[in-house]
């Protein structure tokens, strides 16, 4: 068709140019939004560094603690340096990493399963991780013996096993998306029951720890966690973005995707495995932080549409933004105590989401 359109002349230089401009304009809008999100995330990070419960130094001194590393500015107090560099900064970066991974995984899972209700939570990944953590906390046994990382490793492995199990169950019925989601929901209930029984038999100390883990939080973040997770999240996000076109085609339905030359089952399992490893490795450290994986993709779809080339990065940044704001609120609103971030993400996100649902007329979830 390079010279004609199925035997007809539908070339029109002027209109072709016009459509190129239209496409460029649409693309520019999406790029602009991603850039704006990036700027907003950076801005929020700066604010998050500046504020905190410590009363002996102010926001400026807090920022100086970081600038001092690179620039010849006035030296902040040792206490400020300690708080900012060892507590606030790793925690803020962890919030960004976690938000990105939940947002990216949520958008990919929803896209590949063509279902707006899918998230790491609904597929049973989160409850799998929680169950693994609870087993480690109460019984003190991990998949790989005992040790410092027993809770994290257990949560990670349980979470991945859940995905494998859910996928395996759906395979038995010919990999329909509905079975996959229902299997995920069923597994969630099973894990909840296991967690409840573990809570029931556990002593005070363990019970407290489980409850904290279930509510999710970033307060235990150390630099070593950040250094481990940051490259992993970056690599997996880029890997998933490579499948953007396939995900786009798959949202037109399996048959159409297949007629566009896509091996539907192969892409589905690859992207689900990547997204599962991405979320599992992060929630193993943070505990359950619900809602972000579900809502970030929706918010971004309302803003820029569903083209995964833009949706995946936008959703990751949106996740980072929501989690960073929530976590900063967690540690500053009721000083000096902390609210678990899982609670705050819901309080911040749900009203925003409902507002978007009600205000926008478009209804794609039916």
């Amino acid at each position: 068709m390079s010279d004609d359109f199925f035997g007809y002349d539908f070339k029109d230089e002027e209109e072709d140019l016009e459509s190129e401009e239209t496409y460029a304009r649409l693309t520019w809008k999406k790029t602009f939004l991603i850039t704006a999100l990036l700027a907003l995330v950076f801005l929020c990070a700066v604010v998050a560094i500046a504020v905190g419960a410590a009363s002996s130094f102010g926001p400026l001194e807090a920022l100086n603690a970081i600038l001092f590393k690179f620039l010849p500015v006035e030296e902040p107090s040792a206490f400020a340096q300690l708080i900012v560099l060892q507590l606030r900064l790793p925690r803020i970066i962890m919030a960004l990493i976690t938000g990105i991974s939940l947002g990216v995984a949520g958008s990919v899972m929803q896209g590949v399963l063509r279902n707006p209700l899918v998230s790491p939570y609904t597929l049973g990944l989160s409850s799998g991780a929680a169950c693994g953590a609870a087993v480690a906390i109460v019984l003190g046994v991990g998949v790989f013996g005992a040790g410092r990382y027993i809770i994290i490793v257990n949560a990670f492995i349980f979470s991945l096993l859940t995905m494998a199990l859910v996928y395996g169950i759906s395979r038995m019925r010919g990999t329909s998306v509905e079975t996959l989601i229902l299997a995920g929901v069923a597994m969630s209930y099973l894990f909840s029951a296991i967690i409840s029984s573990l809570k029931y038999v556990s002593g005070n100390e363990a019970l407290r720890e489980i409850v904290f883990w279930l509510m999710g939080g970033l307060y235990t973040t150390k630099w070593e966690n950040v250094i481990l997770l940051a490259p992993l999240v970056l690599i997996f996000t880029l890997l998933l973005m490579r499948y953007s076109w396939d995900l786009n085609a798959m949202s037109a339905g399996e048959e159409v995707a297949s007629s566009l030359g896509i091996n539907v089952n192969r892409i589905r399992i690859i992207t689900l495995v990547l997204a599962s490893v991405l979320t599992s490795s992060v929630i193993a450290f943070t505990g359950i932080i619900g809602f972000i994986g579900l809502v970030s993709p929706h918010v971004c779809r309302l803003l820029i549409g569903s083209d995964h080339r833009y949706l995946i990065p936008a959703s990751g940044l949106m996740g980072a933004l929501i989690l960073l704001i929530s976590d900063t609120a967690c540690r500053t609103v009721i000083q000096p105590t902390e609210i678990p971030v899982g609670i705050v993400t819901s309080f911040v996100g749900v009203p925003f989401f409902l507002y978007l649902l009600i205000r926008r007329k478009r209804r794609w979830w039916q």
Partner: protein, 256 residues
């Protein structure tokens, strides 16, 4: 481009859906598959498009076995229009038609891709919807968009699964005329699963009548659409009139 289906059989859990189907489609031909519900029309379309894998037999494109082509090359030859498109997430019409470029695209969208999408929209008469969201459009418009996506693949064979079944009569005619216009350009062939015998009669060169998973009759509309065949295949008494253009027109009367 010549398509040949040889002794194709397909079944599910031991239940046969298609048995020993053989047919040929020449360049620039329109072929309609007709038959009662469950006769295997849609399944045959999906077997030809490799969406389903036949247990027996093969499909040949210009003498090459289709199953041996790699997926991308195959999708440059064959375009598929589903019966209806349900959108889950919001995409603009332009984005949806651009998906049809998937077999040709690496990562970046080239000027050529954009031009082909624009030309396709213009050909289908839907360029004004380019920036609209898919779910804001009517059934007929959606069907045209699904066709535009298949055409953006630059296929040589277009497969349509009951392209008119959800449309009002005006859109039925518009869609069929677009298919005819495409085929008359001489560069593409069309295979359609059809429920409406009269549309099939008016717009096809050849009709394949399926009954109980097998081909009951193949031929031009005049020789296939006769009362006797319709009675045997559908179990319906009918009167067939030959209209001014020499095409048979079927008036169904009573179920037997």
């Amino acid at each position: 481009m010549k398509l040949k289906v040889c002794d194709l059989s397909f079944g599910y859990n031991g239940k046969a859906i298609l048995e020993d189907i053989s047919l040929e489609v020449g360049r620039g031909q329109t072929i309609s598959l007709v038959g009662p519900n469950g006769a295997g029309k849609s399944t045959l379309i999906k077997c030809i498009d490799r969406i389903l894998k036949p247990q027996k037999g093969a499909v040949f494109i210009d003498g090459n076995e289709a199953a041996l082509l790699n997926a991308k090359d195959f999708s440059k030859v064959m375009g598929y229009v589903p019966q209806s498109t349900k959108d889950v997430f919001p995409y603009t019409v332009f984005d949806i038609v651009l998906m049809g470029r998937r077999p040709h695209i690496g990562w970046r969208v080239t000027k050529k891709d954009i031009r082909i999408v624009a030309q396709t929209l213009r050909f289908m008469g839907i360029e004004e919807f380019a920036e609209r969201y898919f779910d804001e459009l009517s059934g007929g418009e959606k069907q045209k968009i699904a066709m535009a996506r298949a055409l953006a693949q630059e296929p040589q064979i277009l497969l349509l699964d009951e392209p008119t079944s959800n449309l009002d009569i005006r859109h039925q005619l518009e869609v069929m005329k677009i298919v005819r216009q495409l085929v008359q350009g001489g560069k593409i062939s069309a295979i359609m699963a059809m429920h409406d015998l009269n549309l099939a009669s008016r717009f096809s060169d050849k009709i394949v009548m399926l009954k109980d998973h097998r081909i009951y009759e193949i031929g031009d509309p005049k020789s296939v659409l006769i009362s006797e065949n319709i009675e045997n295949v559908y179990g319906v008494k009918s009167e067939v009139i030959i209209d001014k253009s020499g095409r048979p027109y079927v008036m169904p009367l009573d179920p037997i």
